[in-house]
């Protein structure tokens, strides 16, 4: 294996970056503290929109975490060498993004001080509890996976661990999707399509994040990404984006033709104000069509910059998509009495409104900060190749 693949990040830039990210994280924690001491009144969330911006961030990070591991899976499970060289970075990002996402999720709880309760009381019927187990397992498996990749004497196992990580990750995203998919009560959710859709979303967001991080690392070290590699990755990305689009269309079509969720569809697609805009402009235009055009463009598509821009747009589109799914889904009122006009002091029968506030946003950014802070530190620290087994290592190297 080529050690030059593990590149060093330059000293000073590292500290500057770490300090900047650290600040973002601190601000995020501060925001969480503010939310906790004052209660959730200081957020835009209320009894109608119970999951707000923090959940958009958290779900994005979690979904992307699982997707970013794709790169490693393609390397280990499907044995593609160019992906193999990137597997450690991919595993690292997976852990970091998941940690960021979970932190946001946890700090947004009404009682974050009861974390210990969440870890000792399990209701196994709850898909959420299942997720807690899947997340913890994900950490463990990916960490083991990283270990097998970094430590030579374990390298032989990396394929098997990689495979279980792959399976685990599919389960994890399925379960994340099912958090919504099993909500029978709500028009927006309650669909078996959500689980596969989340999986494919995770592929697309994850790869986009990976491409951006990777290109930053290359730029930092003054290196150029090989064009052939770039081409392969961007083709894959385009495929994923296409697949997400396909699923989105099918999802809305089933809603229209089979589930007879006319009103909800009219809301999202036509009359939903900010949600409609986010759907068409954010998700479809910025997150799907423009990136597809860029990626598939015969000349533009082979430039590193274009691919990074496209990836960035896919991420923006991803946030828009999750915003529409999570918040749009709640904004549409529950219909308890079909065929009747409903009104009450508790906002029955009207579109619920949600105005995100700064602390929520800062908390979300804090999660992103955590993810990238962890990545930055780990990339720097783990440049040390484990010393213990030099003996073994070199012998193995001879036989390479």
């Amino acid at each position: 294996m080529n050690f030059e693949a593990f590149h060093k990040i330059e000293e000073r830039a590292f500290y500057a970056l770490a300090a900047a990210l650290g600040l973002v994280v601190l601000i995020g924690l501060g925001a969480a503290h503010y939310m906790e001491t004052h209660g959730h009144v200081v957020t835009g969330m209320n009894n109608q929109i119970v999951w707000g911006l923090p959940h958009v961030f958290a779900v994005f990070l979690i979904v992307a975490a699982s997707g970013v591991l794709n790169v490693a899976s393609i390397g280990s499970v499907f044995g593609k060498p160019i992906y193999k060289a990137r597997a450690p970075l991919s595993g690292l990002l997976a852990i970091a993004l998941l940690a960021g996402g979970l932190t946001v999720l946890m700090l947004d709880l009404g009682r974050p001080d009861r974390l210990i309760v969440a870890m000792t009381h399990f209701n196994f019927k709850s898909i959420f509890a299942l997720n807690v187990i899947l997340y913890t397992g994900f950490f463990a498996i990916v960490a083991t996976y990283l270990w097998t990749m970094m430590e030579r004497k374990m390298y032989g196992f990396s394929k098997y661990v990689g495979f279980s990580a792959f399976i685990w990750r599919i389960a994890l995203t399925t379960a994340t999707g099912s958090i919504f998919g099993f909500l029978v009560a709500r028009q927006a959710y309650s669909s078996a399509l959500l689980a596969p859709m989340f999986i494919i979303m995770s592929f697309s967001y994850g790869l986009a994040v990976f491409i951006i991080v990777q290109s930053f690392m290359y730029a930092w070290n003054g290196m150029k990404l090989d064009l052939a590699i770039l081409r392969r990755m961007k083709n894959l990305l385009a495929t994923f984006v296409g697949a997400v689009m396909y699923f989105t269309i099918v999802y809305h079509l089933t809603n229209l033709y089979f589930a007879k969720q006319w009103d909800f569809e009219r809301f999202i697609l036509l009359e939903g104000g900010v949600f409609t805009t986010l759907f068409w402009v954010g998700q479809m235009l910025i997150g799907t069509l423009i990136p597809l055009a860029l990626l598939l463009h015969p000349t533009l598509g082979t430039r590193c910059k274009t691919v990074v821009w496209a990836a960035g747009m896919i991420i923006v589109g991803g946030f828009a998509q999750l915003y529409v799914i999570i918040i749009g889904g709640q904004a549409f009122p529950l219909n308890l009495f079909p065929g009747m006009q409903q009104s009450s002091s508790f906002f029955d029968g009207v579109i619920h409104h949600y105005q995100p506030t700064l602390p929520e946003f800062l908390l979300g950014m804090g999660g992103i900060g955590i993810a990238f802070l962890l990545t930055t530190i780990a990339v720097r620290v783990l440049r040390f190749i484990p010393q213990d087994d030099f003996h073994h290592v070199s012998k193995e190297m001879l036989t390479d």
Partner: protein, 463 residues
């Protein structure tokens, strides 16, 4: 022992602080090479620590078996002798110890104690004797030295047509070069000497060697004796004062550079920043614009930076080079003005004069470099077995780049490394000619202005 404890804080702290954590255990090349558990750095310290415990700690006095304390018996002394001469004082273990416990310090103390009880090592002591009598480790007397240098001047002229000079005892020169005596006649050491000379010549700097200070190496360090070390270093001071030089440059030698860099100022005032009369006497003479002492690589690197040297890199194209960080340079001293300069500067010099350079695997270079296996006073044929085994880790890493990158030249900046490797590589199936100095590469690629009258002579490569 009590005396040493009182004089060296390092020893006192190191005796107490080790927690037997085991971090250092697999870091010593002699342990890796011999698999003898007593070669684990901590075990090596333990030889002394057990005695320390017995005599200087409460637990050791009253519960010896609990803490593994023992009396200094004849047998134990034998072990001391054996294992304190199986440590090349390379400090690799010190890098990894959480408290920076430096087994080299313990080894030195151990050897000093052994010396006082009369169990000195022949090799080191003989060499010290030669140094004190004659002025260099090889026992090369002044006139012989002069002959050698003249011979070299002729050789260079024959090869290049350039009258490169190797002045000896030239008073009023700007630079005094102190270099390991091996450079004067051993292969491949001489090639580097030629390299230094060419550099001085090309830069047009007046320089000289000194017959009094014809040895940079300081074996006093190996037995950790402050007095011996100081006595050896004094010769340099005297020579510098005699010749009135403004700068002192040290040639390619690892432990020499450590002593020069880290200790000369302390021992003899070769350096800057001294406040006392003793050091001021010399320091007022030295040029404050340059570090004192300066390493030949720093010296060459500076000139390269200033554009004063011209090279044809392609002259080194028949070589694919890797670089071995000598342990004393890597972990006991520095070059340039930033920490870690000792790793950058030699590599930059090599890259400036050659096209094909590859590093060995990370974890075996820079501060993690493996010792050549012959340092610390072990460079004697009596210890051949341990020298071969101790070179194993380095050789493995070397072999990797040989296989992967077709490396055929191991560039060194240490006389001991050169001597050790030329002896040892054959055991590992490599050719002696793969070994050479950094300035040997410089010598190959440097372009000298050929005076008109000799212009017709061709420039030949040097090996």
């Amino acid at each position: 022992m009590g005396d040493l404890l009182g004089r060296y804080r390092s020893l006192r702290v190191f005796m107490d602080a080790c927690v037997h954590c085991g971090a250092c255990t697999d870091k010593c090349h002699y342990y890796i090479g011999t698999a003898d558990p007593k070669n684990m750095p901590v075990a090596r310290q333990e030889l002394m620590r057990s005695v320390y415990r017995r005599h200087f700690t409460f637990a050791g006095k009253y519960f010896p078996s609990l803490v593994g304390a023992q009396d200094l018996t004849e047998e134990l002394l034998q072990d001391w002798y054996k294992y304190y001469y199986q440590c090349s004082e390379c400090r690799r273990c010190s890098v990894y110890c959480p408290y920076g416990i430096d087994t080299a310090e313990v080894t030195m103390a151990g050897r000093e104690i052994l010396d006082t009880v009369g169990i000195g090592q022949k090799y080191t002591n003989e060499i010290m004797g030669k140094l004190h009598r004659i002025g260099n480790n090889l026992g090369l007397p002044g006139p012989a030295l002069e002959d050698t240098l003249l011979g070299l001047e002729e050789d260079i002229f024959d090869a290049t047509g350039v009258p490169v000079k190797l002045p000896l005892d030239a008073e009023g020169a700007e630079v005094m070069l102190v270099t390991p005596s091996a450079d004067f006649f051993s292969e491949p050491h001489v090639e580097s000497l030629i390299g230094y000379a060419k550099v001085f010549h090309a830069a047009g700097i007046k320089w000289t060697l000194s017959s009094k200070a014809s040895e940079a190496g300081n074996f006093g360090m190996f037995i950790g004796s402050y007095d011996n070390m100081r006595r050896a270093a004094m010769r340099i001071r005297d020579a510098a004062l005699d010749l009135g030089v403004k700068r002192i440059v040290v040639g390619e030698c690892g432990h020499a550079w450590r002593v020069a860099y880290s200790f000369w100022n302390t021992l003899t005032g070769v350096g800057h920043g001294g406040e006392d009369a003793f050091s001021k006497q010399l320091q007022q003479q030295l040029d404050p614009n340059y570090p004192a002492p300066q390493h030949i690589c720093e010296f060459t690197y500076d000139l390269i930076q200033q554009g004063k040297l011209k090279f044809d890199k392609s002259l080194n194209d028949h070589r694919t080079i890797t670089f071995h960080d000598s342990c004393n340079v890597a972990r006991g001293s520095r070059m340039g003005d930033m920490p870690g300069g000792q790793f950058v500067i030699p590599r930059e010099v090599i890259k400036a004069v050659a096209n094909n350079f590859y590093d060995m695997q990370e974890g075996t270079i820079n501060e993690a470099t493996f010792c050549c296996g012959g340092g610390g006073g072990l460079l004697t044929d009596d210890l051949m077995e341990i020298r071969v085994k101790g070179a194993l880790p380095r050789m493995e890493a070397f072999n990797n780049v040989v296989q992967d990158k077709q490396v055929n030249f191991l560039a060194l900046i240490c006389a001991i490394c050169k001597a050790q490797f030329t002896k040892v590589v054959p055991y590992y199936g490599f050719d002696m000619s793969m070994i050479g100095g950094v300035h040997q590469l410089v010598a190959t690629a440097i372009l000298l202005e050929v005076p008109e009258e000799t212009a017709q002579e061709s420039v030949a490569s040097d090996d």
